[in-house]
Structures are given as C-alpha cells and as structure tokens.
Subunit: 527 residues, 2 copies
C-alpha cells in the first residue's frame, strides 16, 4: 500500500515543483545548522558567523558534489535577482532601522568621504593596477571595460565580519564610521559599476569621470528623497489611521510592505534601491516606530533583525557552496602560476587601494574637525577602518557574475578565470582577513566591559569614553540639566562646524513641526 | 543629464528582472491599500477583509486590463507553486500555532468526522450531481475523471470569512469546530484530489474507495508524526542549546526555518505538508514557545499572524484579479444559458453536499456525547457550521488550474469553461455567502460582550457559557481547588468517552515526561 500510495501522490510533487522543494529543504536545513553552530561558537575567539556559514556551505557543497557524482556543487545557481530583490533589501533596511542615528548624522561628512571618494580612489588604483599587472603575470584576455569593471567589483566591501566584532556601545563613533561606510560603499559600487557598463570605451574623454560623479550625486539625492518620503508616508498613515485603535498584525504588515515597496519603487524609477531602503529604515525607526503598539515595536525590531541575519547567513552559505562551481573551474584554462599571480595581484591591490584613501581621508577629517570636540580618528581607529573594508562579499560576486557571465554561464575561459578568481579572493579575504579581525580588534581596542543594552532604540548615552565624546547638545530638552546645556549649545553653535549647526536647527524643526505630524517621542528620547 | 543617467542605469533594471520588480511593486502597493481599507472598514457590518481584498483585486484588475489595452488583467499568472510553497504554509502554520489546543483536542473526533467523512460525502454528492446535471444544462465535454475532480475541487472549503466573524472567546467550541474542520478539510481535499488523478478510470472497481480511504489514514498518521517530531526537535534544540543565554534573532530564525522545513520535508517525502505544518505549529506553541525569551515570544506570535494575514490578503486579492483572466473567457465557447446552468448546479450541489453531512454528523456527535457534559451542538450551531463551509477559495482555484490547465494555459473550450465557472463560484460564494455571514452569525448567536484577551497563549478559561462548558479536569494541578477537581476528574474518567480518558492520561504524561525534556509551563498554565 505504501508503494502504491507513493506513486499515487507523486504527481502532486511534480505539481508543486519538486526541484524547488528539494532546494528549499536543503537550504532551510543548512541554515538551521548554521544558526546552531554559530550560536555554539559565538564565544570563540577566532570564528565568527560569516566564516562558519562559508565553511558549512563549503562542506555541504562537497557533499552535494559527491552525491551528484561530480556534476554540480550548488543547489541554486547564483542568482542576481534572488540577491538584489530578496536578500539585499532586508539587510540594508535593517541597517537603517537599527543604526544609531545620532552618530551616523554627526559623522555624515566623514562617512560620505569614505564611502564615495574612497570608492573612486580604490576603483582607480585597482583598475590601473590590474591593467598594468595582469599582463605581467601572463593573463591578457581582458579589455579596458573589463578592467574598469574589476575596479568596482573589488571596491565593494563587506563589513559584516568587522561589525560582528566591534561593540557599538564601546566605540560608537568607530562603529558608525565602519557601518556607514559599508552602506554607502555598497550603493556607490553598484552605481559606478552600472555607469562603467554604459561607457562607450571607443570615445572615452576626460569629462566622463566628472559626469559619472555628477550622476552619482543626482542619484544619491533622489534616492534619499524617495526613501524619506516613503518612510514619512508610512509614519503618517500609521499615526492618522490607527489613532486609539491598534491592530498589531496590520501595523507590522504595513511597515514591512512599505519598506519593501520603497526598495522596489527605487528600482522601478531606476534609482538606487539600497540608498532608498536605508533612509526609509532611518525615517521609519525615527517616526513610524513610535506610532505603533508596544508589541508591534518589539516584533518589528526583532523581525527585521532576524530577516537580515538569515539573509546574511544565506549569502555566506551560498558563497561557500559556490566555491565548488565545477563548470567554471573546468572552463578556466589559465595556468596555475598565472592564476596564483592573479590572486596575489588582486589582494595586493585591495590592500593598497584601501590604504590609499582611509589614512589620507582620516587625516583630512581630523584636520577639519575642531579640536574642542576631541573627535579625532586615532591611528588605531584608522587601522581598524582600513582592515574592516578588506573583506569582499556577495556584492562583488554578484557584480562579477553580471559582467563576466550570461545568466551565470560563460564559455570564455578568461571570463571563467575572472569568476573563479573573484570567488577565491572573496573566500580568502573573508576567511583570512575575517579570521584575524577579532584578534586585531581585541589588540587595538582593549575590551572595556559594559552591560549590553538589548534595546537598539534605547538611548546610547553611555559615559563618554576617551575617543568618543557624545555631543552635549544632543540632550537638548532634558529637563534636569537644561540650563547648563543651553549654554553649551550656544557655544557649540558659535564654534563648531556647519554640519553641527544644521543638526541643532534640524532638532528644533523636528520637535516643532515633524513630530507633531509624523509621530515620535518628544523631548529627544530617541537615539 | 537626467536622461543620460536613465539610459546609463537602464541595464541594471534589466539585470534585476524588470518584470519581477514591476509585479512586486504593484502587489506590495495594493496589499498596503487592502490593509488600510480593511482597517477602516473593520467595524462595518457587511464587509470583511476577504471581500475587501477581492473587490480591490477586481478593481486593480480592471485598471490593468485598460492600461494594457485588453491584453491581460493580472500581473502574475495563478501559480500553484507560489500558492502551495509560499502562501499556504504560513497560513496553516499560524493556524496551528494560535489554535486553542484544549478545545481542538476535545473536539478531535467531531472535527475529524466533519473534515474527513464530510469531504467524502460532499465529494460523492457533487461528483454524482455534476455527472447527472451538467449534461442536462447542455454541458457535455467532461469525462468521468473530470467529474470526480470537480467533486474534490468544490469540496475544499474556505472558512476564513466565518472565522473573522466568530468570536473565539464567546463560542470556543463552535470556533474550534469550524476552524478544525477547515484545516482537516484542506488536507483531505488535496489528498483526495491527488488520489483521483491517479485512479485508472478504465479499471474502476469497488475496492478503490476503500483503498483511497486507507491511503488517507496512512498519510494522516505519517504527516502528523513528522510535524510533531519536527516541533519536538525544535523545542529540544532551543531548550538545550540556549540554556541561560538567549539570542532573540537566532531563536526567531530557528523557529521560522524549522516550521517551514517541516512543510518542505513533508512535500519531499510525499506526505501532506498542510497536516505536518499544522501539527508542527501546535507542538511549537506547546513546547518550543516556552523555551525562548519574552521578546522572541511576542515576535513569533505576531510575525506568524502577520505573515498569515498577508498571505490570505494576497490570495483574495489574486482571486479578484483572476476573475478578469480574459484568455479563459475568450477560450470558453459555451452558451450563456449553459454557463448559468453550470453556476446554478454547482452552487446548489455545494449547499446540498454540505448539508448532507453537517446535520447528520452533528446529530451523531451529539448522540455519542454523554449528557452530563452538555456539549451538544445545538441546531443554531449546526446552521453556522453548515454556512461556514459554503465559501470556496484559493484551494479550489489551485486544484481547478491543476486539473484543467497546463501551467495555467488551456486551449480546450470546455476546460476553459470549468476554470471560469470555478472562479465565478468562488467569487459568488465568497462575496454573497461571505457577505451574509456576519448578519447570520449576529442573528443566531446574540453578542455577549466579553473583554478581548489579546494574548492567544493566555488561558481561555472564561466563565462557562450555556453551550460551551469547559472541561473541569483541564485545571488539574491548579493548587487553589485541587481537592474538588480531583474528585471531578475521577468521575469524569469513569463516565466519559475514551477520548477524554486518553486526554487525562496525556496530561499526566505531558507533565511528567514531555515538559521536563521539551520545555513548557508546568501546572497546566497553557491553553
């Protein structure tokens, strides 16, 4: 009867797409495994969750490779649509939703210089370096556009590893710089990559670089406006319609859908979805989050974090599995010596390209920072920032697949070599550099234990540390010490940089006009 | 510059799948609209969210039909994979997770007789009726297997409308019967449908019916065991690994992934995913839910409800849009009179087919119930149960597409007629019967206001009402009244039906062995 029955409902399995079911089952099971192993290894000094996921992915890849008798090592082909439409939005939205807004906006100019100027510098060095050094190691199959694309591919950083190690409570400024640069870097790399794909190599002129930079600024402005507008619309809808009557499930559904919609709208309007959803997250946590019931607050905070966590783990798992993409390795015909030359050159250029902007730009940031603030980026912090951006991740792989394959398949041996090299560089940087991140951070920033606040929306007004003094005027309106603060605030406004004066005016504007309309705590309770 | 830039990044849009982006954007926007409109109309007497979603879907369909100049009315083709792999699992899991387990298991035999025997009776009446009456209204294009399939298609109920109206706090037993039947009915219909697709019509014998029923029992048992095993495994993992150290994001990710994995594993092993994920939900809320942090509890409870809510709204929206599937209407060549004959016959058979089992089986259930319990299903309740199952929904449409189309497309005019008829019957039953549900329930069950407990896991020990007396022995272990209860319990065990005796033994077993291993509140605090 059992066998009869199996044939009886076999048709149903076909009908729900057997291949999809198998893939999803394996991925869900392996993700669960990653979560458990990651939790068990959490306290371990050398390992972090990215590395765990990559290694588990690698092992699962080997098992599948054997099970399928050498035919394929991964269940899903690396799918740019899956990555850009389903995995990236929750990660970036959560980044915006959980970011300490205070720090982020105070360091806005520094973050932008790292994230935008830095990418342009790193891109130039890597492109020129590859163009010059690849033929020297015996690899000559690429054209000028390919070299420019390589420059952006290897400028897209992946700071997840470092952020797992840095403590937001202990070094808020450093955390904010590394984190903020990571988000802006993602957006800049993707936009620059697309700009390069459109450049007509035959009629290259000196104005092209200026034009690309101008386009980026336009894109940044419009994407930000769209994200802020979507966030404000959500906040307004929640505040107006739900007055006095909460429906937790609807509130959660509405916030999630509007966040996702902002990303999709940006893509539809050909803006940068990454920037849009990031600013949408910031606005939602600043206004909309305060208009919903207590249960909705807890749920949204954790569900966005959990989704982001799953998406990240999924991506690293995938990168691990992808390392064994046997077709690419077969198609690549480059000699072993040349291949190792490519790896060496690329990793060397990544190290140089990043150093070339982190240290000068930090010095510049320190120079423009007024001495009274004591907000200098110390040399130790500069090293951590430099190190934090050495890892390469899923964005690099997605861009490489886009440039050098057609729907994930390539017959060109040179292109296959670039793909395998990208995978190797990503694996090497994540495993080796990632591996050393925790010891490095522990060495440079000795641990000062402070109780964890599990509430990301709680105030981050820990006692000011040596490197990271909180801005005094951020507590404007705190009734207990308003006299002293008022005085400090006036002083600040006289002596400090324009961005800070703008900040004070913004706070007044926010309290007087924005919060009464869009919701949010009065008296500066938030971050 | 703007235009240059637009062409510049046009490629990126192609690369992320422009069509997908457009579809998702529209769906997300329309879902948001549904949520807002649904919330505004919540207090309205005649409307519920299913109807709102169908009507909004219909309007959006008309707009798209005009915008695309009559080419197509829906953005996505009705996709069985989307439905069975992504939309159904969260709905059913949430059903299991939020169900009042006490009531569900007490009414287990009644629910099973409605959900299994009932489907078989309804299926027989509708199949025989269609076979006899369709030729009489001039529709002759179907074979015997098609008629049998129609029997299952129109036996799959959709009780969402009714559950939105019934109050779980006021009439727990009725709610539990309607709800429980809905879940078991879904599973039975899908399994029966697949059994019929495999029957060799040419060699039909009397043993076939017995065999199909036997297969169902085997499937029910194995699916339940798989669901329970997955739930217990999750509870055990959470309890063992997270002792003394909580990580909310990981807990949430693990629970969601394991729930989804149970569904996928069942599909992979060719069992009933619906039943598996339902029992997985029950076990998780009974054990695993008690092993996680307070924040994880709030988050999981709301996120599963919100997901289920979004999936339901999405389905109804889709059904509304699908009504304008212009290709099907064009392919269908049946005369108008015949078409209305088909609608009439089908709706008549649905009414008769359901009455034919609800009233007799209720009487039977009352007969076997001991008089001391006063747990009779009154005639008013029987009418509500009968009415609750008259609506037809997405499962009917999914099964109809599976039987009468090839990947959503058919060239056969008769098959196109069946598809359009199914859509019309689903729309009619949901709109008309659904519309009348609230007034009917209000008329039959006068409202007795009682404060809502927003906690679905709180105890449901409201004061016993006339029809729904709670079982006294469910409070075993309550220290304040244990003497009296012990006596009552002994009496119960002597006089009551075996299923109740089993229940008492189960409680003892649960408290002594299961909870210490898998977690959960002691002293019967849960539902």
């Amino acid at each position: 009867m059992v066998m009869d029955f199996v044939t009886l409902i076999e048709d149903f399995s076909n009908f729900t797409g057997r291949r999809t079911v198998v893939s999803i089952s394996i991925f869900a099971a392996v993700l669960c495994l990653c979560i458990l192993v990651g939790h068990l290894l959490e306290e371990h000094r050398w390992v972090n969750e990215s590395i765990t996921a990559i290694l588990i992915g690698f092992i699962v890849g080997i098992i599948i490779l054997f099970a399928s008798k050498g035919k394929n090592s991964h269940i899903l082909r690396f799918d740019e649509e899956l990555f850009f439409i389903y995995l990236l939005p929750p990660i970036i939205f959560n980044a915006g939703f959980q970011v300490k807004k205070k720090q982020f906006f105070h360091n806005f100019l520094t973050i932008m210089s790292f994230g935008v100027l830095g990418v342009f510098i790193s891109f130039t060095i890597i492109s020129v370096g590859c163009c010059w050094l690849f033929p020297k190691v015996g690899f000559e199959g690429l054209n000028l556009q390919d070299y420019l694309a390589l420059g952006t591919i290897f400028s897209a950083t992946d700071t997840v590893c470092t952020l797992q190690v840095l403590c937001q409570e202990e070094t808020p400024r450093l955390y904010s710089l590394v984190f903020g640069e990571g988000v802006v870097n993602d957006a800049t790399s993707v936009v620059l990559f697309n700009a390069i794909k459109q450049i007509d190599i035959s009629s290259l002129e000196s104005r092209t670089a200026v034009k690309v930079f101008g386009d980026f600024l336009y894109l940044f402005a419009t994407s930000t406006i769209l994200g802020v507008a979507t966030g404000l619309l959500t906040a307004y809808a929640l505040k107006t319609l739900y007055f006095g009557r909460h429906s937790t499930d609807r509130e959660i559904a509405l916030m999630s859908l509007m966040a996702y919609l902002s990303y999709m709208l940006a893509e539809l309007l050909q803006l940068s979805g990454i920037l849009t959803v990031f600013f949408c997250g910031i606005v939602m946590s600043h206004y909309a989050w305060h208009n919903v019931s207590e249960n909705s607050r807890i749920t949204t905070r954790h569900i966005f974090a959990a989704l982001s966590f799953m998406a990240e783990t999924f991506i690293f798992l995938y990168v691990g599995m992808d390392a064994l993409d046997i077709d690419k390795w077969k198609t690549s015909e480059t000699r072993v010596r040349t291949v190792f030359g490519i790896y060496g050159v690329t990793i060397f250029l990544i190290l140089i390209g990043r150093a070339a902007f982190v240290f000068p730009l930090s010095v510049m940031s320190n120079y423009f920072s007024s001495p009274s603030e004591r907000q200098l980026i110390t040399f130790k912090h500069q090293v951590v920032i430099w190190w934090a951006g050495l890892m390469r991740g899923a964005v690099s792989i997605a861009l490489a697949y886009n440039q050098f394959t057609l729907s994930g398949v390539t017959q060109d041996p040179d292109h296959a070599t670039v793909i395998t090299s990208t995978i190797v560089v990503v694996l090497f940087s994540t495993l080796v550099f990632g591996f050393l991140t925790r010891p490095l951070v522990v060495m440079l920033l000795p641990h000062r234990h402070r109780p964890d606040t599990s509430d990301p929306h709680g105030s981050d007004n820990g006692s000011p540390s040596k490197d990271d003094i909180l801005f005094p005027f951020l507590s404007v309106g705190d009734p207990s010490s308003s006299g002293l603060l008022q005085a400090k605030q006036s002083l600040s406004m006289l002596f400090e940089r324009p961005v800070h004066t703008i900040h004070v005016h913004w706070r007044k504007f926010d309290d007087t006009y924005m919060r009464p309309i869009f919701g949010g705590p009065r008296l500066c309770e938030e971050n």
